[in-house]
Symmetry: C2
Subunit: 221 residues, 2 copies
DNA sequence: CCGGATACGATGCAAGTGCATCAGAACGTG
DNA sequence: CACGTTCTGATGCACTTGCATCGTATCCGG
């Protein structure tokens, strides 16, 4: 068997070239030639990896989705040190909001695909799937927090997860649109979570201590 | 002076054709020819109205922005009947979330432009401007609610407005991505607002009456 | 009723698109 | 080393794109 190539690796590299281009000049500026140039391969190689341009874009979306999901999962799995559930929740959501600078590209690409979803059945399916996974993850985190008594029992995990996910997505959008800085967005997100955690957690709590310093740690590390 | 044409009207008509096309098949599928066909005019007419394609897209975005802003403003101005500030807030946000079916197109277009913003300075500027206006509007509504004692005084109007706007935008995104139905999104939004309104509004209120029936009216009319 | 300015729509054009094709390089096997 | 298979990158092709051009239809002031 001659000339074996690591196709998976190449596909990933091309996918990242696609993402770079989308982030740089939008989805309509993605052409096979440009992708090939950006990825440092020839057009023929791209065509060998993906039968059509649609396939390529779809793979790029799956690539991004997997990337985001995995990062969130790792954030949780890596917490072998007994982390507070609330901290975990904060960090995970901050991760999902794609606010830091190196996630900006992913955020732009994600948004571009969402905007394009109505025109493509398959893209929509992947998006739907990913959102479902993320929602499940957050809901699980909330339930976990309820187990550890950090999150009020009366909150509906599914509902709150929906709200949190929507908030995170909205903030991502706002940052991309230049309406917020990442720091501001992070602050808004954090405040919402704080509010969620202390919301009538005990009947005696009359909201005097607005900010318990113990949980002031930011999800930056 | 010969052959006077209502350019403003034509520009608007073309803008709406642009939006229709964007909603139907994404922004990269918008060509001058297709726009002309959709608007029922010739390509020459389109070129006369807009010097370049960029100009056309920019105008379409401004068209949409103005449309959305105006609708929200009218929602408020039209409340000559003394409406509760909280109701006004709910209705306005529901409007801004672009959840009903006839707003779906606008939502898709809006999202498409946001996704394209990083590639175009001018688009970004318009988006930034519109978001600032909307935020101001919501913050004003919250302050108004505080004046009428419907909204807790200790809430920071600016901050809550940011959260609400982000939540609304995120829900819009989720609906477009097929993650939520408009009804579900509306419910999530409404619950968040409800929670906001009752959050330690009075120290004596211990969260017994979860849903005062007076504000159960949905922002559908 | 007509002169002339204006808007119109068709056409041209160069550039770029996605995809198909193909001669040959690159490589594992005999 | 030579064979044969796999992969490559250049080229071709039909098509679309945004924009420029131009003759003509359209309308108002005279």
């Amino acid at each position: 068997m001659p000339r074996q190539v690591d196709y998976e690796d190449r596909r990933r590299r091309i996918a990242e070239a696609v993402c770079t281009l989308i982030a740089r000049s939008g989805m309509e500026a993605v052409s096979l030639r440009d992708v090939a140039a950006e990825a440092g391969v020839s057009m023929g190689a791209v065509q060998r990896c993906f039968r059509t341009k649609q396939d390529m874009l779809l793979f790029a979306l799956e690539h991004i989705s997997q990337h985001v999901s995995e990062r969130a999962n790792q954030r949780i799995a890596a917490s072998s040190t007994p982390q507070a559930a609330s901290t975990l929740l904060s960090h995970t959501l901050a991760e999902l909001a794609l606010l830091d600078e190196e996630s900006k590209t992913q955020a732009q690409v994600w948004l571009a695909f969402v905007a394009h979803a109505p025109a493509s059945e398959k893209l929509a399916a992947v998006l739907h799937d990913t959102y479902a996974k993320l929602h499940g993850l957050i809901a699980w985190l909330i339930r976990y927090g309820q187990d550890t008594r950090e999150v009020p029992q009366r909150l509906d995990p599914d509902r709150e997860a929906h709200t949190l996910l929507a908030l995170a997505d909205g903030l991502t959008t706002h940052v991309l649109a230049g309406h917020h800085s990442p720091a501001t967005a992070l602050d808004i997100l954090q405040r919402h979570i704080d509010h969620l955690l202390k919301s009538h957690s005990t009947a005696a709590d009359e909201g005097g201590a607005a900010q318990p310093p113990a949980r002031a740690c930011r999800p930056s590390g």
